[in-house]
Amino acid sequence: MDITGRISAVKRDYLISLAKEGKRADGRDFDEYREIKIDREVLRNAEGSAMVKIGNTTVMAGIKLEVGEPYPDSPEEGAMTTSVELPPLASPEFEPGPPKPDAIEIARVIDRGIRESEYIQLDKLAIEPGEKVWIVFIDIHVLDYDGNLFDAGSLAASAALQNAVIPNERYELGENLPLPINLPPVSCTFVKFGDAIVVDPNLEEEQVAEARFTVATDANGDIRAMQKGLSGSFIIDEIKNNIKRGQIHAKKIRKLLEG
């Protein structure tokens, strides 16, 4: 069972037939995002935070830093870990309990985008090299689920990291400092149903989706992470097209993030 819930065959047929006319149920173009809003520094206890809305989907990201041991294979670097919580608050389909495969997949794809674009300067997060480093916890808390958690979660994480501080004071290590970061990745997600491929799927569209594709690109438009999901397939040209469309969307979203 996935997180989207059931949908009636009638609705599925309706969405697919609309798509055949090049339309989406909410009036958007295939290649159009819903409105995106980013609120920053919304929390007091988090080292960094942001609330992102994409349409009716709302996601909160909170950054916490703790002192810990480095990984044996990178003793002079800090570490990062990304988790996604799907609390029952955000959807009638979400259940309490440890993260299910859906949440784990989203977290790992977002994590790869951040990690591979070297967004966090982990090499500047050693305290005593080999002994003590900063661990960056990126916790993404979904508050209202109307589709496209990959992009909303990625965006919230990126925005929260932008205002995160190293809490030196709490650990009596001197003054708080901004978390050292590079330029963020931007994630762009498509789903395919019938013959249509649409960007930024809402819940309804995810419910009828046969295949999903996410691409995270860096400031140069280069690819840093990709993930194809669901049991449907893409042909090669569709994949290529998704990437190119994703590069264009990412540029616009990047402005919101940097603006």
Binding site: S49, G62, P87, L89, Y145, D146
Partner: protein, 233 residues
């Protein structure tokens, strides 16, 4: 230990019987049947209600009434030291007493075999989260149209530096002498929840209870204003 009361005022400038600033907004979520966002001092709390809906699995169904299932959860980033996700013993206890307090006012007998799920997420915490959560949950229940005898409300009083005060701040909670959170049905003044830890003489308890009741009734007005704002404007 720092002095918590100076010249009759508290460390954050409040008088002993003064609440922290409170902001309540009803109907803030798209998916939930009812919801509420509440800020109370440094607390930021979101509550969502789903139901009544069929209780699953079936063997938990009560043929005579709805189950009220509140779940209090602190986001991992809501506290100074990151909290591991998932329920701990503290949140399990709070979920239990919250469920019981809310069940009191709901006409559960109207919805046999169902569950009414009340989800409380603490996004930012600064002492008094259980009162904030219950207060938000009550608004979310009303927003969801769940029939209730009354809209419950919660508030705490306590004692710091030997003085009985209303609505402890984080510092007062950590260094103070006692904390007394209560939830009431404001119309009847019935006590739905009462917990206390610390040190109170009986006389101090009476004083603190009086103060907490006063605070709760004030917060009750804010709840109603938030619901009015949603429905009338």
């Amino acid at each position: 230990m720092s002095e918590l009361i100076k010249d009759g005022l508290r460390i954050d400038g409040r008088k002993p019987d003064e609440l922290r600033p409170i902001k309540i907004e009803a109907g803030v979520l798209y998916r939930a049947d009812g919801s509420c966002y509440l800020e109370w001092g440094g607390n930021k709390v979101l509550a969502a209600v789903y139901g009544p809906r069929e209780a699953i699995p079936r063997h938990i169904q009560d043929p005579t009434k709805a189950l009220v299932n509140a779940r209090y959860n602190m986001a991992s980033f809501s506290v100074k030291e990151r909290k591991r996700p998932g329920p701990d013993r503290r949140s399990t206890e709070i979920s239990k007493v919250t469920s019981e307090a809310l069940e009191n006012v709901i006409f559960t007998e109207l919805f046999p075999r169902t569950t009414i799920d009340v989800n409380i997420e603490v996004l930012d915490a600064e002492a008094g989260t259980r009162c904030a959560g219950i207060t938000a949950a009550a608004v979310a229940l009303a927003d969801a149209g769940i029939p209730m005898r009354d809209i419950p409300v919660a508030c705490a009083a306590g004692k710091v530096d030997g003085v009985v005060v209303l609505d402890l701040s984080a510092e007062e909670d950590q260094q103070g002498d006692a904390d007394l959170p209560i939830a009431i049905s404001p119309r009847s003044e019935e006590i739905l929840l009462l917990q206390m830890d610390g040190h109170l003489t009986y006389k101090e308890f009476e004083e603190a209870l009086e103060l907490a009741l006063k605070g709760a009734k004030y917060v009750s007005k804010l709840q109603k204003e938030a619901l009015m704002k949603k429905y009338k404007g």
